[in-house]
């Protein structure tokens, strides 16, 4: 019989389809794993509701659970329980090394434009905070575009959610 630990380990092998340096477990989108007589229920929280990778993530999880010989029941939970704060410390470090600046911590109120425009975001390449906002939006809903004035490198910033 499959154990909860085996399921978590299997899910940790699934790379984020858009940012493959980080796994779904690193991303913190798996809220719970519940093993019951041959059935594995996984609760999964989307990052952004408009994320084009949602279906791919769900299918990948179902395949991993099925490969362990259990019946997958992957439930998408569309509430406010996922935040970028749930990205694990290891996940943040993997993001940074791949050139994505990790998100700032969530605050009670939504982030403001003036915060995004402030020079507090650190360049993942040279570490300078002399960076500016280029575009609130980027190639996927979860990223913004910034530019480092110090090493003249554009980079992607994970949006705080």
């Amino acid at each position: 019989m499959v154990t909860e630990q085996q399921v978590w380990a299997a899910l940790d092998e699934i790379a984020d389809p858009e940012i493959p340096v980080i796994s779904l477990v690193d991303l913190g989108v798996i809220r719970s794993v519940d093993v019951r007589e041959g059935e594995v229920r996984v609760e999964f929280t989307p990052t952004f509701l408009g994320c084009p990778a949602l279906e791919a993530m769900k299918t990948a999880m179902e395949e991993k659970v099925a490969a362990l010989g259990a019946d997958p029941d992957v439930q998408v939970i569309s509430d406010d329980s996922w935040s970028t704060d749930r990205i694990t410390p290891a996940g943040r470090e993997k993001l940074r090394k791949a050139g994505f600046a990790p998100p700032a911590p969530r605050e009670a109120s939504a982030p403001k434009l003036v915060q995004l425009q402030a020079s507090v975001f650190r360049c993942p390449y040279c570490g300078s905070t002399g960076t500016r906002l280029e575009n609130i939006f980027g190639p996927t809903p979860c990223r913004s575009l910034r530019y480092c004035e110090s090493c003249r490198q554009p980079f992607e910033q994970f949006k705080t959610i």
């Binding site: 952004f48 509701l49 408009g50 939504a110 403001k112 609130i136 939006f137 980027g138 949006k159 959610i161």
Partner: protein, 211 residues
């Protein structure tokens, strides 16, 4: 069916469709990226809302007759002018924030939870709208666009939320005569063309097709 949620979902779907029309032709590359991303996100919100209402969100999105859509005339307008497009972004997000805030207090936890999630994401759309508003608010062309679209924005909200919108935008509520044909419940001629295109692939395939 919850008409309020259906109206919100239809607004997000149809506006997402309209915003996506700027993909590839926006006046600057950064806005091309921004509008594409906003469109994708709005359609994602529509999908999540439809999922609260039905087990088959695609059927709800694409299989209804035109007069069954509950979107407001505001989101249907086919705007080809950049000043008008930006004016609609700013007005839409300002109005949207008010109704989403009301939904966050909904007694149904599924509705309240989804509203909270949507609100977190919309914060970035609002920033985009505010950024452009700050940049263009003294430009005559932008002011004219806001003036023209303002009654449509008011017509998007139920009456009890309109005062709040007027306060936030510092604009005066229009008369009932001006609002005629611009409130939810009416549709504009542009919706037919949009519906034809939006549902064309779905209609061309036999029912039950797997993609």
């Amino acid at each position: 069916m919850n008409e309020l949620l259906l109206g919100l979902a239809d607004d997000e779907l149809v506006l997402g469709w309209r915003e996506s029309e700027w993909t590839g032709i926006a006046p600057m590359l950064e806005e091309d990226v921004a509008f594409s991303s906003i469109a994708q996100n709005e359609i994602g919100h529509a999908r999540a809302l439809y999922q609260l209402l039905t087990d088959d969100p695609d059927a709800l999105a694409f299989d209804r007759a035109l007069d069954e859509y509950r979107c407001a005339p505001f989101v249907e307008l086919h705007l080809l002018d950049w000043a008008q497009t930006i004016a609609r972004r700013w007005l839409y997000e300002t109005a949207d924030e008010i109704r989403i805030a009301a939904l966050k207090d909904d007694p149904d936890p599924a509705v309240a939870g989804l509203a909270a999630k949507i609100d977190r994401e919309e914060a970035y759309h609002r920033m985009h709208g505010e950024m452009w508003h700050a940049r263009l608010r003294d430009e005559p062309r932008f002011r004219a666009a806001v003036e023209e679209l303002w009654p449509y924005a008011v017509g998007m909200l139920p009456e009890h939320l309109r005062g709040e919108l007027a306060t936030r935008t510092a604009l005066d509520l229009p008369s009932d005569t001006v609002l005629q044909g611009k409130e939810r419940g009416s549709h504009t001629p542009g919706l037919q063309e949009l519906w034809d295109e939006m549902t064309s692939v779905r209609r061309s395939a036999p029912a039950g097709s797997q993609w």
